[in-house]
Symmetry: C2
Subunit: 685 residues, 2 copies
């Protein structure tokens, strides 16, 4: 159901309104009544006839007029009944009350029940256990946090009420302006995904910021986030980077934090900007709120201090955006008015005695330089530096240009006023150089991913393929096996277009000639880590050695199938697997194989469904990109082939959710036009 | 010569003092006369009889009394003569004047001359092209930056004057206090190393902070920094992380920025804390200025907001310090007074309604918990939060405890006053969680490295070994070769205790029996990248194949030596090389070998001289540590053996600086008690 009336109500009832100072119902009532909200407000509490000189209703049902939104601030045990009683007439609720799933089993049960009530009666319920929400443009503070932030274009959704309070306070100081602030509490019904859907359509919102501890309904989240991120930037601060934090999260909100690397892969896939920490989060929202998207990833830096310029230049290390290489025309124009000792290389050093005119002219030249997409204006407050005047020139520039601009005015008192002036005019100043570069980089990457021509991919389920595989699985199950034989796995792989190494069961081998050397392997669901258990004999050079190897295997694994394969030619060894993520479903893991694979951490993730274009992009930007770039002294590996293999695995993961474990280890790929080959395939059913 | 009189002068002459507003000589004179300096001050300028109502001398020589320090602010062309004229009587100078090596060839020449004057006359000269210096405890501002910072224990040395100005301004706002601020300008004579020597002994200085673009005299720097870092923390912000910055640095100061990874290795070796950016630099200085060193690396976090606690917990990812696992006793004591919904796991969640008493009690318990070395106190300003009172409790705690404390009061207006109060009482507050964790981590790592029992290593030059190697080199040179033959290299390696693979020149091979398979290699200074040029034939299985291989090689490399080696057994392939760094001299580079080595970036650096203990520590904490830790399914590789090999290479690098290039590729190491073996050794002379 649309959240329009919940977040833009014409009339509000406050259940549990109170005249008692310090009570939540008191704070909320005051916030709604005293901060300028212009809709109807009804106070409800059987204990009072009047609160703040305003009529107080005994019950919701006494109110004669329509109520768009009811805010519930009564003890948890009364909440469900209260909502149920009014569910015919009132469709939108904010449940402030705590005491639901966050307190344990009993609370969980009550929350389940409330969810059911909501569903059956088509209600929208924000919370429970939340701070409420604030819509500055309506002067509506439907929360128990004090104050009214400035109205602007940032929507901030927080899974932590306290953090929302802290950010609102910081925002006041920084001049940050909001379209809405929403505390989602236990996210019973309205979670990040529903908020994305709503805010994606909200005209007042330019950028969506979220603080999340967990993500609910991962697959739906991916779908919606992918759509909304094409419309406007989504910046998420996702907690849970290490195990201790994940544990703390689950004890504090009951939420599942999820595998952090997979969260990053999901964000990347969806075009979400991931903030690495609270500072970055806050700064990114402010910057995007004020800034244009730009046509290129090249940045010019102007400075009145060489040392500061150098530090900005350092901040570009590891970023996708780059210091622009200035065209000769640009440099010549700069040379025309700058003193000889200036540098017209980027960073452009205007020198310590630069006054406003140098900044002005440099900015003019930059505004006409097509090779530049963004500009960072650095200033150190030296004796001769007219800080305020320079700020004025920057503001003028910002009003005329479609380039992005960020300022870094270093210092304290001497730059304070100018920074305030800049902010008032929607120029984002950074206290230190690094975050300026990070902010432009993130925003520009979002723009790249938004404008990329890839649609959100869908991969159709092919029922015929699925049926074939299920048949193979059924057979194995009927034989009480937990794993497929290699031959069966090879059949499955073939269905998904993946080439496996030739292989013969020992019984059928007689009379064939693979040519030596060959490999002998035990093929059994009881021996899954073959190499660890001497279940593989490599490099068998002739028939005599083969029969010796066979008898050795028969002794060690008396009950097991044995298979023979030719030795695969040397190539790059990769591993590919499917990981079942608790939140996001099947995720493909792939990377370099070999004995050090575990330590070298060359693993990347792909979240199905994916498109061929996305996979190729991932291969070219991921940890094994060097294979496909044709680095020094090595021929390129075939990126199309690898992408197709990964697409096949993606289809497999979507079509056969019954699989409990899957990996290919190794997949050998070649750079000499030989076809890639899966040497071992493990399918656990 | 001691810098004592330079930085603590009883009398100062200002050459180029001026009454003209805006002139450098005017600003400096005012700064020295008006900000409280109590020594004698003499103004010198032939143009004036009087400045500010004070006598102005025509020349330095007219001053009858002793002058401890002369500050020179006259055009560059007059500087050398002026100093030379007075070099008998005045021994300490600050040359503010620009126009020396930073402007090109002519300036360089003048600077060289000035350096010679300084040396011949035993003068101390700070600069040229510098801002001057400030000693707040003396109320002495001998610079042309305005104002007088608060006196404290931070010494700040800057290679950028403008950055010093900006930091002074920021410091005023942040309550940062300095023992000295020194702009070293062109570092003609007094560079980072001389400043470290001086500040290391300065009683007023607790922590030394440096902004550097280049480092002069790398080997001396390493020696002095290593000593001083044992006495007090040194925090360096070193610019030049990428090529563009290195280029900008060399055009802006003429300084050589150096290879950034080697700079990091040098800092690590010397026990220097490297700040990653300006924000970190500033914050680290403030934190160390206020803080105790602590006995362990375990941190407790207390918070009144679960979400904020979670973000701090995330900030520990990748750090050496860790969230403390609380003892049961500690948890029980916390449980005694905290509400049931609180978390007594670390982060300790005092809940949103926490008042000062909860913070107070929690801190008391922490102060008696030996498992905790530091504490981070988080606060979000919620409706019920008595911010000021909580700050008071934290201040009381800080006064009593020997544990480290950092606060993170999140927000704006609501926490501002409390933060000021905290700072006034030397509690360091961080605006965001991550930097608090970084600061404690860096300080604690410094403490670890300081208290480690390793002395600064020295490696004696063994003249006998050196003579032997030089003889081998001389022979090769006499034959007009640029590289040693493998046999010669093997001899050199043996001298340094490194085992090489057996090897025979083809002429001497007849009659020997290495057993097959063998390897045939061309051994020539003309064919240095053998593998690329088909100069190696591996896995030759019998005599027939060998003679075929030999004739093939003879055709391809008609003039070259050929050698035969047995195939080395499989093991881990490493590479070791010596890189000649322009600043720091020979540096050992080592890491994983194999075809992907270049892309996987598993390379670490060691800067000779080193001790065995340091090498082992480096191996256990570096990029190939997994080899020595005995990870899952793999036996440990021998760390002592590897350390000895690296020690040998270190001696080699120090004893034979004549070598222009050196690498072992591969060195094969084993985890089955087989001796490590160098399979190929390249020594270019």
């Amino acid at each position: 159901m649309s959240l329009e009336k919940l977040f833009n109500p014409k009339s509000i009832a406050i259940i549990g309104a109170s005249s008692e100072e310090g009570k939540v119902g008191n704070v909320i009532a005051k916030n709604i009544l005293e901060l300028g909200y212009s809709g109807e407000v009804y106070l409800v509490n059987p204990k009072y006839a009047e609160i703040f000189g305003k009529k107080c209703y005994k019950a919701l049902s006494e109110i004669e007029n329509d109520v768009d939104l009811a805010i519930i601030a009564i003890p948890a045990k009364f909440v469900n009944q209260e909502i149920l009683n009014n569910s015919k007439n009132i469709k939108n609720y904010v449940v402030i009350s705590a005491g639901f799933s966050e307190i344990g089993e009993e609370g969980k049960k009550q929350e389940e029940e409330l969810k059911k009530i909501a569903k059956e009666n088509e209600l929208n319920i924000l919370g429970p256990n939340c701070l409420g929400f604030i819509i500055p443009s309506l002067k509506l503070n439907a929360s128990f946090a004090g104050g009214m932030p400035e109205a602007g274009n940032i929507a901030f959704v927080s899974q932590s009420g306290a953090l929302a309070v802290a950010i609102m306070d910081a925002a006041k100081k920084e001049g940050t302006k909001f379209s809405s602030i929403v505390s989602v509490g236990n996210k019973m019904q309205i979670s990040e995904t529903e908020m994305l859907e709503f805010l994606g359509q909200d005209e007042n919102t330019k950028v969506i910021g979220m603080y999340l501890e967990g993500i609910k309904e991962g697959e739906k989240f991916i779908e919606i986030a992918g759509k909304i991120a094409k419309i406007k930037p989504i910046v998420i601060l996702k907690a849970g980077k290490n195990e201790k934090t994940q544990k703390a999260i689950s004890s504090h909100t009951g939420a599942l934090a999820g595998n952090d690397e997979i969260v990053s892969a999901v964000f990347e896939k969806s075009g979400i900007i991931r903030a690495n920490n609270l500072e970055e989060f806050f700064v990114l929202l402010n910057f995007i709120s004020f800034s244009n998207t730009v046509p290129n990833q090249k940045v010019a830096v102007i400075t009145n201090a060489g040392g500061a310029g150098v530090l900005v230049s350092d901040a570009f290390s590891g970023k996708k955006i780059q210091l622009a290489d200035l065209e000769n025309e640009t440099k010549n124009k700069l040379r025309e008015f700058l003193p000889a000792e200036s540098s017209v290389e980027n960073p452009i050093d205007l020198l310590g005695d630069a006054r406003a005119d140098r900044y002005k002219k440099a900015l003019e030249i930059i505004s006409n330089a097509p090779e530049i997409g963004s500009v960072i204006c650095l200033l150190t407050p030296q004796e001769q530096t007219p800080v305020a005047e320079i700020a004025k020139e920057i503001i003028k520039f910002k009003d005329k240009t479609d380039k992005n601009i960020a300022t870094v005015f270093l210092g304290g008192e001497k730059v304070e006023k100018a920074i305030t002036k800049l902010k008032q005019n929607e120029v984002c100043n950074f206290s230190f150089p690094d975050l300026a570069v990070t902010a432009i980089d993130s925003y520009s990457q979002w723009n790249e991913s938004r404008t990329a021509k890839t649609k959100n991919p869908t991969q159709m389920i092919n029922e015929k393929r699925r049926a074939k595989v299920l048949e193979i699985i059924a057979k194995a199950k009927s034989e009480n096996r937990q794993a497929l034989y290699f031959g069966e796995s090879a059949e499955v792989m073939e269905i998904y277009g993946i080439n496996t190494v030739e292989s013969f069961e020992i019984e059928n081998y007689h009379g064939r000639n693979l040519g030596y050397p060959v490999v002998l392997k035990v093929d059994s669901d009881k021996v899954l880590h073959k190499t660890d258990k001497n279940g593989v004999i490599l490099n068998i050079e002739n028939e005599m050695k083969l029969s010796r190897a066979v008898s050795q295997m028969r002794t060690n694994f008396p009950e097991s199938h044995l298979i023979i394969q030719p030795m695969a030619k040397k190539g790059a060894e990769l591993i590919i697997g499917i990981k079942k993520d608790e939140i996001f479903g099947p995720v493909i893991v792939y990377g370099l194989g070999g004995i050090y694979a575990e330590f070298l951490k060359t693993v990347d993730y792909l979240v199905p469904p994916i498109s061929l274009g996305q996979v190729e992009k991932a291969l070219f930007s991921g940890k094994i990109k060097f294979l496909f770039q044709g680095a020094r002294g090595q021929k390129k590996y075939n990126v199309e082939e690898m992408a197709k293999i990964l697409m096949g695995i993606s289809s497999f993961s979507l079509e056969i959710p019954e699989i409990s474990e899957f990996d290919i280890n190794p997949l050998i790929v070649y750079n000499n036009s030989q076809e890639a080959v899966a040497v071992d395939v493990k399918i656990i059913i």
